[in-house]
Symmetry: C2
Subunit: 288 residues, 2 copies
């Protein structure tokens, strides 16, 4: 199938790579030209000069960029993909962005006889590399049915959650839950250390029961070791929590502790730790 | 082996039952006489009139009672077990209590040539019934080695965490982590419902990734259904969080969000919901 992929960062690069490896004909675009050359050298796709050009003959156009403004730029912006796409083609946005921009672009696409799916992912860089991402999709069922088999090349679970924006909203729920888990874990493990307990033995024991979580099993030991140079960056978490809190202003949901945790992340950024994993939250409680 | 068990509540009853079923000779004591008769009718043990009498010829005496004061009463109180125990015998307390009372009774026991282990459990009523509790133990290794094989009758994981009080401190870490997980889950799922998402489908999707937890998998769906007449009661959680926060005053750990979550639980109690499962926290965010 003729495909296009816009945005070859740490997520988009390997995702587009899975499509090329599966035998699809992939045309790519990336703002930073050097990245796109390296990608093409590895996977052999075609390089385009603009999103519009990349999208020209593609049945499905994918993007994985930074934020709302970047998504608007590569779709409805100057030389954006929408201008180049064939009627009936599907645009799939993997960026974690607002539900508002998803609805806006869904409607802009429809006005041009195009389809738009918001499809943020979870699973991080290693999930993208291994092709086992969780993909939460919002939009029309027909467009989903077209894109879903292709997304399966890098997604283990690809689920239509509802109409336009529902994918983004599901990702927000995910991040709200993660924030609470990590904060509880940070308070619990910092307490364990102050109490003179062997932190790793505590994790081993309590991870067998009702306190356990993916974060406890995968980040607990590194929190004890004060190691955070991997994983999901504080800067990205703050971006995601802002999106969730903005959406909560619209839907009326209360996020009392998420809002406080976001402030703790703000402190980490102010300390120059924005690129560390979110589990570095424990540092604020350990005076590290 | 000759054993004694003090406190036949929803946890102690089935725990003592596992010991009797394993062929141990178990003498039991319970403050409420009717409970002890029902237990003896089911398991055939001997009934004692006081903790001291129950403990008379036991190699290990177990207790599972309500709080610090109850533990003191059945050990060093009038007709308490310590007065009846043979020299060298081991007292194992399964109550979730303070680390302070654990250290105090460890020392009182030593002064009488007895041994004391603090051994709070997690896994709840169903864990006790199925004999698959997690048991976190503080005290001396020799006493632990005596009691550990017997505790295995109702414990899947029985671990010595450190000196007297270390079992209680580990249980505190467990509860702090649980509090954060449930709060994040409550905020996330309440947000999902306000956002018009299908709550159960959201759980299905995000429980495959980094947001997942025992609580999400086991309590998420019932939170969506607003069902809370089972599980671990808010009243017990508040008791446990008070113990943890008292300990934090001693060891200097900061529990900023745990303290706020405790206040949310206070609101549930004030509404007469103290006996509902801790996951009912979501009700405060759903106006239920």
């Amino acid at each position: 199938m003729k495909l296009a992929f816009i945005g070859l960062g740490v997520m988009g690069g390997p995702m587009a790579g899975h499509l090329a490896k599966a035998g699809h004909s992939v045309t790519v675009f990336n703002r930073t030209r050097s990245k796109v050359q390296a990608w093409a050298a590895q996977y052999g796709g075609t390089v385009a000069d603009t999103p519009a050009e990349a999208a020209r003959s593609a049945a499905i156009v994918f993007s994985c960029v930074g934020n709302d403004e970047d998504v608007r730029a590569v779709t409805v912006g100057k030389n954006g993909a929408f201008a180049g796409m064939m009627k009936g083609a599907v645009f799939v946005d993997h960026t974690t962005a607002s539900a508002r921009v998803a609805v806006e672009l869904y409607e802009a696409a429809r006005a041009r006889d195009l389809h738009f799916l918001d499809a943020p992912v979870s699973g991080g860089q290693s999930g993208a590399e291994q092709g086992i991402l969780t993909i939460m999709v919002g939009g029309d069922a027909a467009a989903f049915d077209t894109a879903q088999p292709v997304m399966k090349r890098y997604g283990r679970a690809v689920t239509l959650m509802g109409p336009a924006g529902a994918g983004q909203k599901t990702k927000m729920v995910n991040q709200i839950c993660v924030a609470g888990v990590i904060q509880g874990l940070a308070e619990g493990l910092a307490f364990a250390l102050r109490a003179g307990l062997d932190g790793k033995r505590v994790i081993e024991v309590i991870s067998k029961g009702a306190a356990t979580s993916w974060q406890m099993e995968n980040r607990g030991p590194t929190m004890i070791d004060d190691k955070f140079d991997f994983g999901f960056a504080v800067d990205l978490m703050r971006k995601d929590l802002r999106i969730a809190m903005d959406e909560a202003r619209t839907n009326g949901a209360a996020l009392p502790l998420t809002a406080v945790i976001d402030q703790f992340y703000s402190r980490l950024q102010a300390r120059g730790s924005g690129r560390l994993d979110t589990s570095s939250l424990i540092r604020l409680l350990r005076d590290k």
